[in-house]
């Protein structure tokens, strides 16, 4: 798979690498600057929204561009989270004995090692799933990923290193001494979150607008034609899955940094479906939409909380948790009915095909 470093002559849609990086850098700086305007709680929310954005970005690309629906993306986030937590803890423990524990190295090494751990874990799982996904059609993949997310507590309980329902704790990354006077913990974590998310999403942008994106769309439109053009559909689909898995893994690492804890309860079925909701609401295939969806999913519980605050306690409590979910469901249905978005093009393409062929089997 090529990235945006191919010359514009062969792929007119590719954004030159420098321009891409410049824009990414600018947005990241904007986001970092924005953290000064927020109070600590909002910074915390921003950090979690960033982590969710990374995962939803990968998911929306996967579904929008290659038509592979994963209902279990939360598990990929969890894999990244566990990978981060386990690796960072080991490295931090190893450093604790030596003198390097204080200072920038002691701060950054566990963090970086953890990120590598997250990428390895989610990447490995992504490869496995991708290989399966390449061979499966829509409902089968969706069902498999659904079974995967239902089985996560089971996996956590069976693998000793994952410590069951209790979960694994990730080391707390304190504010470096140099910045301690300037920013608080929440803001520092928001910075880390934004930087990591930027690293997750920028490659996705490059992927999408480069040759890889073209290949993905080609395979999605018509596999036979793509094959004739020399593209291997299985590899493209699997590759897309791996890319989205890596992004989700980084999202999980972000959440692990911000909450210092990874447990199966945090990555359950409800959360996994919310990722799909976020992708749909923003428009499948749209990375900007993924950002909107992620923010919405993070903020809505707070909004509902404010709204139900006025109600009598018992009624308010019963409505509260559920009132967040029901509107999401409605929105998803409405969006799918009115604007299937990225799928519309596929639908048009397919109906052309079926009218030509005599075999009407689906």
């Amino acid at each position: 798979m090529s990235t945006a470093t191919t010359s514009p002559a062969t792929s007119p849609a590719a954004i030159p690498a420098t321009r891409l990086l410049l824009r990414a850098g600018l947005l990241t700086l904007l986001a970092l600057g924005g953290t000064f305007l927020l109070d600590p709680y909002r910074n915390y929310q921003l950090a979690t929204a960033a982590g969710i954005f990374a995962a939803v970005a990968g998911l929306t690309l996967l579904v929008g561009l290659t038509g592979q629906l994963s209902l279990g993306h939360a598990v990929l986030m969890a894999a990244g989270g566990y990978g981060y937590a386990l690796t960072a803890t080991r490295v931090a423990d190893a450093l604790a004995g030596s003198g390097a524990a204080d200072g920038v190295a002691g701060l950054l090494l566990p963090l970086l090692a953890g990120v590598v751990g997250a990428l390895v874990a989610s990447g490995a799982l992504g490869v496995l799933l991708g290989l399966a996904a390449a061979r499966l059609r829509g409902p089968y993949l969706a069902g498999l990923t659904l079974a995967l997310v239902i089985a996560l507590p089971s996996v956590a309980g069976t693998v000793p290193a994952l410590a069951g329902a209790q979960g694994v704790s990730a080391p707390f990354v304190p504010v470096p001494d140099a910045l301690a006077a300037l920013i608080a913990v929440e803001q520092w974590h928001a910075w880390l979150a934004i930087l990591l998310t930027s690293c997750a999403v920028t490659p996705l942008v490059a992927l999408r607008s480069g040759r890889a994106g073209l290949r993905m769309r080609a395979v999605h439109d018509d596999e036979t034609a793509a094959r004739l053009a020399g593209i291997d559909p299985g590899r493209v689909k699997a590759g897309a899955f791996v890319a989205s898995a890596l992004a989700a893994g980084l999202g999980g690492a972000v959440l692990a940094v911000v909450t210092q804890q990874v447990s199966p309860g945090a990555y359950g079925l409800g959360f996994s479906l919310l990722l799909v909701v976020a992708a749909v609401v923003g428009g499948l295939g749209s990375l900007g939409g993924a950002a909107v969806g992620a923010v919405l999913v993070t903020l809505l519980p707070w909004l509902v909380d404010q709204a139900t605050g006025a109600l009598p306690a018992d009624l308010g409590h019963r409505l509260q948790g559920n009132l967040e979910i029901a509107p999401f469901g409605v929105v998803v249905i409405v969006v799918m009915v009115l604007r299937p978005g990225g799928l519309a093009r596929l639908v048009r393409g397919r109906s052309r095909n079926t009218s030509l062929s005599t075999n009407t089997e689906r």
């Binding site: 579904v63 038509g67 629906l69 209902l71 399966a132 390449a134 061979r135 499966l136 059609r137 829509g138 409902p139 089968y140 969706a142 069902g143 498999l144 659904l146 079974a147 995967l148 239902i150 089985a151 507590p153 089971s154 996996v155 309980g157 069976t158 069951g164 596999e223 559909p233 299985g234 689909k237 479906l273 799909v276 909701v277 749909v280 019963r318 409505l319 948790g321 559920n322 009132l323 979910i325 029901a326 999401f328 469901g329 409605v330 929105v331 998803v332 249905i333 799918m336 009915v337 299937p340 799928l343 519309a344 596929l346 639908v347 397919r350 109906s351 079926t354 009407t360 089997e361 689906r362």
Partner: protein, 292 residues
């Protein structure tokens, strides 16, 4: 050995409900070429209605009849009112809409009825028979097995021997040709959804007395296990649903008994993955397996 017999019989009882639910997934797949990811939530709503009926003084059988009717109605409403509105050529929009529907239904039920488990009591004794010192099936378990067999037999007869069944199958396999031959395809699809939904409601109603009770999430795990069973047996094979359902039920019980309760979902996942990779169309598929 005794332990094995006990676990096997427990597994069969549990598998019967699974088989029934898997059958409901097979019906909707044969009728509409779709896997209904909202089946669990759609199955639980009729059971709440049935519970309301029995609480108001009705018998279990009245509740059962009401559940079947409500299930069929819900299937028709969802198919006509909701799924007709999304493009059907690819499965993705339908699945996403189903996900949204699950959220709406479960949140709605929780808002109206609260999260508590509502105990539902079985019409027959759940006390197992004692065969040579080993506890085997209870009267209720036998009832479930009989119901599953009857429903399956009935549906098999419907699909293979009646003209209605022929029309249902034709509408699913070759909609345009059937339309030319005078089959009312949309009506057949709706009928398929109604049958599927009613069967799922029946399965959920039979499941609930064996657990903690009814709550909005009562059928979630049932759906995942039944989906695995349906895939293992072949999404277009009712016989496959029966055999695989029983097999998955036995598998889960054996794993719980010999390993641990926590390992069961993992075992189902492994089975599902293995079948999808080796024989994606299931063990009893009537069609040749095709790669993506």
């Amino acid at each position: 050995m005794e332990r094995l017999v006990f676990l096997l019989s427990t597994g069969l009882a549990r598998g019967a409900v699974l088989a029934l639910f898997a059958l409901s997934l097979v019906i909707v797949y044969r009728a509409a070429r779709a896997v209904n990811f909202a089946q669990a939530a759609m199955a639980v709503v009729p059971v709440y209605v049935a519970l309301a009926v029995t609480s108001a003084g009705g018998s279990f059988w009245l509740g059962l009849a009401v559940a079947l009717a409500v299930g069929a109605l819900l299937g028709a409403v969802v198919e006509r009112g909701l799924l007709r509105l999304v493009p059907q050529e690819t499965p993705l929009p339908g699945i996403i809409v189903a996900v949204g529907l699950v959220m709406v239904l479960q949140a709605g039920l929780a808002m109206v009825f609260g999260p508590d488990h509502r105990p539902v009591h079985a019409p027959f004794s759940q006390r197992p028979f004692d065969v040579g010192g080993v506890s085997v099936l209870s009267p209720y378990d036998l009832f479930v097995l009989v119901v599953a067999a009857v429903v399956m037999g009935g549906l098999a007869l419907l699909f293979s021997r009646t003209s209605l069944g022929l029309r249902l199958r034709a509408a699913a396999f070759a909609p345009e040709t059937s339309r030319l031959l005078g089959v009312r395809v949309p009506r057949m699809v709706t009928l398929g959804w109604m049958l599927s939904s009613a069967t799922a409601a029946l399965a959920a109603l039979l499941l609930v007395p064996t657990g903690l009770g009814l709550d909005p999430h009562a059928a979630d795990v049932l759906f995942v296990n039944a989906f695995a069973a349906a895939v293992v047996g072949g999404l277009d094979s009712p016989v496959g649903a029966l055999v695989a359902g029983l097999a998955v039920g036995v598998l889960v019980t054996l794993v719980t008994g010999y390993a641990s309760a926590a390992a069961a979902p993992l075992a189902v996942l492994v089975l599902l993955t293995a079948v999808l990779l080796v024989r994606p169309h299931g063990l009893f598929a009537t069609r040749e397996a095709r790669t993506a």
